[in-house]
Symmetry: C2
Subunit: 440 residues, 2 copies
Amino acid sequence: MTLVVQKYGGSSVAGIERLQAVAARIAATVAAGHGVVAVVSAMGDTTDELIALARVLHPDPPRRELDLLLSTGEVVASTLLALALEARGVRARALTGAQAGIYTDGTAGRAAIVAVDPARVLDALATGEVAIVAGFQGVCGAGPHSEVTTLGRGGSDTTAVALAARLGAAWCEIYTDVDGIFSADPRVVPSARHIGRIGYTAMLELAQQGARVMHPRAVELGSHYGVPIMVRSSFHPGPGTVIARPGAALPAALQGDCLPMERDKKISGVAHDNNVARVTVTGLPHANFELHRLFTPLAAVGINVDAIAYALDADGHSADCAFTVAESDLAETVQVAGAAAIALGAREVRTRRDVAKVSLVGIGIQDTPGLAALAFATLASAGIPIEMVTTSQVRITCLVPEGRMEEAVRLLHSAFALGTASERAPNRDEEPAEVTLWSA
Amino acid sequence: MTLVVQKYGGSSVAGIERLQAVAARIAATVAAGHGVVAVVSAMGDTTDELIALARVLHPDPPRRELDLLLSTGEVVASTLLALALEARGVRARALTGAQAGIYTDGTAGRAAIVAVDPARVLDALATGEVAIVAGFQGVCGAGPHSEVTTLGRGGSDTTAVALAARLGAAWCEIYTDVDGIFSADPRVVPSARHIGRIGYTAMLELAQQGARVMHPRAVELGSHYGVPIMVRSSFHPGPGTVIARPGAALPAALQGDCLPMERDKKISGVAHDNNVARVTVTGLPHANFELHRLFTPLAAVGINVDAIAYALDADGHSADCAFTVAESDLAETVQVAGAAAIALGAREVRTRRDVAKVSLVGIGIQDTPGLAALAFATLASAGIPIEMVTTSQVRITCLVPEGRMEEAVRLLHSAFALGTASERAPNRDEEPAEVTLWSA
């Protein structure tokens, strides 16, 4: 019996009919002879609604209580899905994160999974039951002193991949409201090409640079344990995207679903993210400046810093340091890094919210000279200012004004010919292509 | 520091404003120098709504999944109450049943509390926090194989009294939507008298015979551990009812709240319950009839059988057995007892739903000859048929047609002069008093 882990996101279980459709899909997977572990998110907007309710009562709800509150959303969804399956004659058992053995480090709001004890899940599978696991949550400790913690946004993906890895599942399916991964957001670039297969590294960069289809931590976990991940729509059939090691053989069931492998693409796609804010600390005394004293406090509260730029002033005695964080982390960043900057004797801390990241992602980037130059030239030709640049092995990211983000995505997508075959390569001397792309 | 356990029912926490009012009440109790453990039910109709949702998906939801689903209601209420307290500057910690150390026997849907491990609650109190405990739920076991179970309807009362007993609290307050215990349901008998103090035994009989103010198991637990219980309204001030051992000294805080002790009352009140069904098994072969074979299977599935009447037929060879169960248990009762009856060679199993129990309750009942005779005469004079009678040390219960239940309550309440001093004792030769009681 092949074991498959399926994850259903909030939109896939929003309402009775969708729950029943998910039950039908799981029943079909069971009928095909597979063992199934299903990980579910809270139904629809439940999580946002609970947060809103909490904020009515408390302007800044303590994270520990908020986690306990939010964890109920996934428990409700998983028990209801179990009932929908039982009503179809498919035996099912709903499990909380604690019952599924998802142990975390206890960090409220963004806990990391430290271990998975799959005893209960295996018991369910051994007795022919589908195990329905409440995603997004785990437990730290046991007994009265245990704490329920959530894994942060998108955490259900992480729950699913962690279970798939620990259980040695043949693959993990992520059901969502899109058809998989595209060379750019189809809402921004209508000619965006569907990607049949992509490697973990490129997917990780896409996810980290704003492709919201999958949570980056889940991709990382899949990469570490070599779990093939299929991302697909729960709303209509059709090929999804397989995330797997380049060249690795895939389970037969996944081969039919994905398009032929594409080995020759230097660039997989263009990602964008406007949940970005830039923080600039100016006038840092160079003589006694220790960069870690700015960033260690941020790490301590769990804030990820993305691009960092550091430059000496012309006088050689002081320096400016600019970095980006998620816009949703900005208030806390200013609080924490601001205090550190003052202690360091900096002149001022400035923030900007109206910036966005546009990223070219692909495993060929570092091997191919001239890609960065083409990207910069493309943006420059349209007069889009590049405010910061960061690169990795497989990524070039430019910080641009938020209002020009979508234009930048479309220009880069065209310049690197990432679209469907029918897309006409634009003549960059003509009017930008996006004018007609939005005319419909 | 005096430790007080307060329980807030679903109507007391239905909505943001009521949660804030509860928080204000708890804050006042803390300000008065008390340590507080607050046990909360799910907000408003949450539990019924979750059950309805479950039934849309499954006609007969498996109890184990239903318990896990329902348990979320109390977790939501307790976390939101903790936030409301924190927002007022009162430190609070929401705890699930498992975190509060409420261990059960694991019987889904009607679990019994087998132990309370108060370590976490004591930690919260020791650091000056209010412990907010999700009522109605407990856990069986620990780690992945733990099961969340609910204690059945009214179980939050049981959670509160169990915690009060285990923690050695000075008293337990049950906040509800009525002003305490009355000599009859004030909606049925407008002249019903408020009871300032009542013993556990009389309260237990009242609760078991349909007075919905407190769950009988909670009263029993209070009796066993001698926990003084104050039942009062969370909606407006005024005296509640203290449930305590007759003659026992009360904490000073409770003395001001309750009316003078009333030692001379033979009858405390009249209770009624129309959640009753009668099952009659006829033609049981007397020779090999073993009564336990009918009732043991019912006990095994946790169904409480109330009145039992057993009589030989005129021929002396077969017998009829009638008994009552909660109407909500009727379907399961017919299934379980019906199978047993067939195996015993019975002729038929008949059921009736249109019956109700009317009970006189008071510690003087068994000592005072003639009370039962007066009760029967009162009902007979109004032409109300008595279909079964059961008695205990402190109770006389008559099974009457459901349509005449309220009339019977009013007649008995008048006949035993249980009402307020201003109530005119009715002349039973005149028209029944209830005709004018409803004229307003």
